[in-house]
């Protein structure tokens, strides 16, 4: 862009002021970073990009608010010497609200902040790229460190791209409840194998297989009598397909993910969004997502009247779960390990200002019910919902 119109100067001032407020300018300048690397080979970016986004998130169940998250995140990607790029992200979350001690009952107040930084350096070659990345996340009760390397290469036609990624995550869980008395660790190794294929002039598809192998503390220290296996292995296959409609200039994004893990949870995720291109560089993208999971093998449903339950544990199957817990066997009453289905709908509104500025706002509504699961859903849990809104601004230069 040769000249910077006044509108762009205003956006620039807004962006810088927002970054100063969030205290992220210094962090972003000193830390290289990435969010999960996109699984395709590409040439080195021609321009630098900065992106700032806020998230306001609230989840709830009937008559009770659960968790609120206010987050700000920043991304910078800078090309270097035509063959390299450096990417950095910084995220700050403020978490507050209430979390259930079992199922959807006995809400306990929580308040925390999370700071997370990621960094990555990519070297581009004639037919591919190599990315080395790291990530660090800190909450008062949880610290996570991640290291990853990813290699992608294309066929001479550039129509097929293969990707191999390896990651290692070392997490530390810090005691903050009566159920955890010492620091615990968790180690996860993950492998991603992907193929991206150009199908036609208007179609591109991608298949990714992702395996994770985790060892360490997987229980939830805040949940009542929660004891989970000290390993979790997972496998997932994600298939994505983007199709562009020439006549309308709109684009359909479709994806399906199958997930299975060693806790006996199988999950299906189906997602669609459709980019309507509107006049004057506006676009609107409605989205729809369906998710279903089966329950973990050691998950126990709520019961109406348990002989061992008292006023503090009303509705919990204490006479079943407590003996298992006391004997060192596995048990959990965590709603997230139950069998349920969930639907998300929403829309994103995007406005481009010339070639180099973009602003967007995205709204999402999420509803979760046991009866929406494929197969038998878990009984006795309260419905659960969430609502989020994002504001984003992006500039390339």
């Amino acid at each position: 862009m040769k000249n910077t119109p006044d509108g762009n100067q205003l956006l620039s001032a807004l962006l810088v002021s927002a970054l100063r407020r969030s205290g992220m300018v210094a962090v972003a300048a000193t830390s290289a970073a990435l969010v999960a690397q996109p699984v395709f080979a590409e040439a080195a970016p021609e321009k630098s990009t900065i992106n700032f986004k806020t998230l306001s998130y609230r989840d709830y169940q009937p008559s009770d608010d659960r968790i609120n998250i206010d987050a700000e995140s920043f991304l910078i990607q800078v090309p270097i010497a035509g063959q390299w790029s450096v990417t950095g992200t910084a995220v700050h979350d403020a978490i507050s609200g209430a979390s259930p001690r079992y199922h959807s009952s006995s809400l306990a107040q929580v308040k925390d902040t999370r700071k997370a930084y990621t960094g990555a350096v990519t070297r581009y070659f004639q037919q591919g790229s190599v990315t080395v990345g790291t990530a660090y996340s800190k909450e008062s009760d949880y610290i996570s460190r991640n290291y990853s390397i990813q290699n992608s290469w294309s066929t001479p036609s550039q129509n097929t791209t293969f990707i191999v990624g390896l990651g290692y995550t070392a997490d530390q869980i810090i005691p903050n409840s009566i159920f955890l008395t010492q620091k615990e660790d968790k180690r996860v190794v993950d492998l991603a194998l992907g193929v991206t294929q150009v199908l036609s002039q208007t179609d591109i598809a991608q298949v990714t297989y992702h395996h994770t192998r985790g060892r360490g503390y997987y229980s939830d220290q805040y949940k009542l009598y929660d004891a989970r296996p000290d390993n979790r292995d997972s496998d997932s296959v994600l298939v994505r397909w983007n199709h562009h409609f020439i006549e309308s200039a709109n684009t359909l994004h479709s994806s399906y993910r199958y997930y299975t893990d060693s806790n006996d949870i199988n999950a299906h995720t189906l997602e669609f969004d459709y980019v309507f291109n509107l006049p004057n560089q506006w676009s609107v993208t409605p989205l729809l997502r369906y998710y279903s999971q089966s329950a973990a093998s050691f998950y126990y449903d709520p019961v109406a009247n348990d002989p061992w339950a008292d006023a503090d544990t009303f509705g919990a199957p204490i006479s079943v779960v407590y003996p298992l817990y006391a004997e060192g066997r596995f048990a959990s009453m965590d709603q997230r390990l139950s069998s349920f289905g969930a639907i998300t709908y929403g829309a994103k509104l995007t406005k481009h200002f010339g070639e180099n500025w973009t602003a967007d706002v995205k709204f999402e509504q999420y509803e979760q019910k046991g009866s929406w699961a494929l197969g038998n859903g878990s009984d006795g849990l309260k419905d659960f919902g969430a609502r989020s809104i994002q504001f984003g601004i992006s500039h390339s230069f």
């Binding site: 690397q37 991304l75 990621t118 390993n231 997930y259 299975t260 980019v275 994103k348 994002q390």
Partner: protein, 85 residues
């Protein structure tokens, strides 16, 4: 505390076979696809045709879903964990 129940060693063989078959099918299908020439890739280069084009959006979405659902990941390595799940 020492859990006494034996942990299951990963995936059953059948599920691993399905995963490999999907990958193999996706790569062998490539030979059936008409190659697209470099000068025919204008549409494919549009931002909306790129997977995870808005990475901060993807990161928020992944983060909030993994805090309330058991399944996670799929798109690639990197990013690290959090105490929310």
């Amino acid at each position: 505390m020492q859990p006494t129940r034996l942990n299951k060693p990963g995936l059953p063989l059948l599920q691993k076979a399905i995963v490999l078959a999907v990958l193999a099918a996706s790569t062998s299908a490539c030979s059936l696809i008409q190659p697209v020439q470099p000068w025919e890739k204008g549409t494919l280069a549009k931002p909306e045709m790129i997977f995870d084009e808005d990475r901060l959006d993807s990161a928020y979405v992944e983060h909030t879903y993994s805090s309330k659902e058991a399944a996670f990941g799929g798109a690639g390595v990197g990013g690290g964990g959090c105490g929310c799940n």
